[in-house]
Amino acid sequence: MPLHYCLICHHEIAHPGAECQYCLSRATTGLAPPMALLAGVFLALALLFAATRSLTATYQEVRQERRRVHVSEATGLSEAGRYEAAASEFRAALRYGRSDFEARLGLSQALFRLGQLSEARNHLIDLVARDPTSAVVNRLLAEISARQGRVDEAVSHYRTAIYGRWPEDPEGNRLTARFALVELLEEEGRSLQVVGELAELLEEAPDDAVRERIARHLLRADAPERAAELFEELTRSQPEDAGVFEGLGEAEFARAHYLSARTAFSRSLALDPGNAGVLERLRLCNRIVDLDPTFRRVGTRERYRRSEELVQRALAELRRCEVGLERFEAEIERAEALDGSIRRGGAEDSVEENISLAETLWVGRLELCPGLEPEDEPLGLVLEKLAQ
């Protein structure tokens, strides 16, 4: 005969659906409890509380110990460059202490190195929510955001990192973060922001090395005047530094102050004669200076000769274009007609006319074949300067 069980208490019953005697016996009396019972319940609660407290303490201890072991292992692996294994260990550490800042940051750094940016970013967002002023977290977030193309977000995180709290070497780290921000802005072509950042940086710049770096960034950010000023100052404090003179030369060159640039490059080369790059720049300066008809110390005849040379070299550049030359037929004829003799109306007027003709030919050359790289670099620079 099969046994039947009550669906509630699972005690045996006579047949399915029969009243369970056990359940009936447990039915409530509807009477209020005696005080002793109430006291007993509270005592039981207190005992359970104490037991839970003790169990929780043991549990937290084990957790902490396990977390510590994993973090220590992970840190070692990370230092050894084994980021995959380090990430795995950091994850294990987080299983035992989800709110462990150190482990989550370590995991984010390992993931960053592994190129798992999305996951690293999510962990860092957790961390930044918990500590918005953490410079380390913000710096890493900025780098990830920059790599993911979120430039504005990256800039914001860099700024927070710059003004945030660094656990060690705050000055140095702040400086590094600022330069990283400047480099990001340079990559994005935000020259104005770069100049602004550099101006702030300059106020805090601790030494000449940093100032020199700032000057070079200023140069890249199309602020050659400020770069030249800074290099000028640096040449006074570091008169034996070839690099500073080279920088000054570049700044002056960018300002189209070719004479000053030539002087600076010469000085740099004198200090470091083996620098082929500077030598090349110096030669270029010389060629520009020899071609430019507007230098004051050049006599009238020489000025005229230079202006004619400009025209001839511009014509040669124009002729490199294979199509459309007929548009400049008249100018070409005028250029070909030049024979070295100063026209009526005076030397100065002839020089001006030649310069104007050279400019027209040069502009025509740029219009007709913009994809063709000019062969005559000094010519381009001189005409550019003259156009200014």
Partner: protein, 598 residues
């Protein structure tokens, strides 16, 4: 010496006081006792759940997640061993701890006057600790719910609650248990109202809230107040993303319906097996879990760590999809085999991984900007849950509470509601309902109530005004009208906006006494009639109809504006229990009387 004697005297006094107190009955009223009990239940349940949580973790750290002896053999062998021991415990020693905690609690509410066997508390605790701690893919919430209900029932009996309150006390404990397990007070309350009480019962709501809150306070004081998941900041990237979130809901809903259908079918088949085969199934299921766990340890246990990893974009979409499938298979097997443990955590896991895989795919192929896959993991968490347990409100609030973020409220609401509706459309009954039926329990559900809409007076009332006369009309004209229409009773409107109910015999008596020319409102014995409004439920109307043959239905804006009348026959007709038209005696309409108010 004097001090000693004074101490002895004091101790004697204390002893006398305690003895007197223990003999005396407490003077607390039933409501006070119920509220005090709610707090006590919350505290006891919170403490139990803390111990339960710690026990599971400690066991898991020494079995499948062992730091020192990790290896495939451990992962392979622990789940079947744990499942076997846990199953043996509930089969041999703790039979009341078998089955679904939700259904057991519902049974206490609707069948056994709130009685939940006390043995179910240690039974659930031990069996589920061993089962989940050894890596079986089940959740701790359902057992926590039953432990809470068990504690509540025990305390209710000790405190001698009246039968009416005893019925409700189990649900109070259930709310405490689930709120403590999830560390989510609102979810605890909503789930119990939606799934256990299966009604929006305001009477019990206060005590449920009280116990849930006190349980969560206790849990937080021991385990901290961090949410179940630490979630990165998510935002809706593009409005077109809502379509993908809707798709997440559709997939979750369809899968939930299939899951419910096939799991209950397999379970039904398992129940038909011979005992030897049936008793060996948990071990077999555990072995499958072990084999799976070697390659995909994420499916072991509740899987919350894996959900959190997915929330941080650890897995690509393919891995997420595979994990969802593996968890679906292993959980179904373990559940059908009877391995102790709950289904809450697995449903969250499956939904999360499913959502994440859809999000990952969308991130790659959707033509518009999308959020990372992890945002879909968060939205997906509630979809499968809503589809399987048919608790849409709970699923929405649960996502907010377990994540602590309200940033993606819109996607969560869309996805969960769609999942719920699709699952409901494809599979009429919920998982708990079918399981209860398989175990021989026909338990009510909010789902049934949703299916049968509440009927209101407007649907039953008689819109014609033949039964209504002007209160100023002469009594003999009124009597003539009733005789002509054959009506036994009529309503008379008075000038001050009131209504009188006058029977034919009262009119006849008034006329025979020579008051036939007087107005109807002056007829002796005329009773003031209660007013009804068109939107009032028929249940309420029936209560007002006791002692009245007819009631006026008036506008809420103007009590003088009659919308119709209601009699018992009208109500019966609305329920299809009386013939259409009815007899005049029962209140059917004759021709309208002159002088009847509009």
């Amino acid at each position: 010496m004097t001090a000693l004697s004074r101490t002895v005297t004091r101790l004697r006094d204390l002893g006398r006081f305690l003895a007197t107190a223990s003999r005396r009955r407490a003077t607390m009223g039933e409501t006070q006792r119920f509220l005090l009990l709610s707090v006590l239940i919350g505290a006891f349940s919170g403490l139990l759940v803390v111990c339960f949580h710690i026990a599971i973790e400690l066991l898991a750290w020494n079995t499948v997640h062992s730091q020192t002896h990790a290896g495939p053999w451990r992962v392979l062998l622990w789940p079947p061993l744990g499942a076997g021991i846990a199953y043996a415990l509930v089969t041999l020693y703790f039979r009341p701890a078998r089955g679904s905690g939700v259904n057991n609690t519902k049974a206490a509410l609707y069948v056994s006057d709130g009685y939940v066997p006390t043995r179910s508390i240690p039974g659930k605790f031990l069996a589920c600790t061993i089962s989940i701690g050894s890596g079986n893919p089940m959740g701790p919430e359902d057992p926590a719910l039953q432990m809470g209900a068990g504690v509540a029932s025990l305390l209710g009996r000790l405190f001698g609650l009246a039968r009416r309150n005893m019925r409700m006390i189990a649900s109070t404990g259930a709310a405490a248990g689930i709120a403590a397990a999830f560390n989510t007070p609102i979810t605890g309350v909503l789930f119990v109202m939606e799934e256990v009480v299966a009604a929006w019962n305001a009477g019990v709501l206060g005590s449920i809230v009280l116990s849930a809150v006190s349980a969560v306070v206790v849990v937080r004081s021991f385990l901290g107040d961090a949410t179940l998941f630490q979630v990165p900041r998510f935002l809706l990237t593009d409005p077109s993303e809502l379509l993908i979130y809707a798709l997440t809901g559709i997939v979750g809903g369809v899968l939930a319906a299939w899951f419910t259908r096939y799991v209950t079918r397999i379970r039904g088949w398992v129940l038909q097996l011979k005992p030897v085969a049936r008793h060996s199934l948990p071990v077999v299921a555990g072995l499958v879990v072990g084999v799976t766990g070697i390659w995909a340890p994420e499916v072991l246990g509740s899987g919350y760590a894996a959900i959190e990893s997915a929330l941080h974009d650890q897995f690509p979409w393919r891995v997420l999809a595979v994990l969802a499938i593996l968890k679906l298979v292993t959980t179904s097997l373990s559940f059908c085999a009877g391995t102790p443990g709950g289904m809450f955590a697995p449903t969250l896991f499956i939904g999360a991984m499913l959502g994440g895989s859809i999000g990952g795919l969308a991130h790659l192929y959707w033509p518009f900007p999308t959020s990372p896959a992890s945002a879909y993991v968060l939205v997906g968490i509630g979809t499968f849950f809503a589809g399987v347990f048919r608790a849409p409100m709970t699923s929405i609030f649960m996502v907010f509470e377990v994540s602590g973020t309200y940033a993606i409220i819109l996607p969560v609401m869309i996805a969960n509601t769609i999942a719920y509706m699709i699952s409901r459309g494809m599979q009429h009954q919920s998982l708990f309902h079918i399981i209860g039926a398989q175990d021989g329990l026909e338990l009510p559900s909010l789902e049934d109530q949703r299916e049968s809409p509440v009927r209101i007076v407007e649907e039953a009332m008689n819109a014609k005004s033949g039964r209504v006369l002007d209160g100023e009309l002469a009594a003999e004209a009124g009597l003539e009208h009733l005789r002509a229409t054959g009506l036994p009773v009529c309503l008379a409107a008075t000038a001050d906006g009131g209504w009188l109910q006058i029977r034919r015999d009262q009119l006849e008596e008034a006329c025979s006494e020579g008051r036939g020319r007087g107005p109807l409102r002056g007829v002796p014995g005329a009773q003031p009639a209660a007013k009804l409004y068109p939107d009032v439920t028929l249940d309420t109307a029936l209560k007002r109809l006791s002692g009245a043959a007819i009631l006026p239905v008036v506008s809420r804006a103007n009590p003088m504006l009659l919308r119709g009348t209601l009699t018992l026959d009208d109500v019966l007709r609305a329920y299809g229990l009386a013939e259409e038209g009815g007899s005049p005696e029962a209140g059917g309409d004759g021709p309208p009387a002159s002088g009847a108010p509009g």
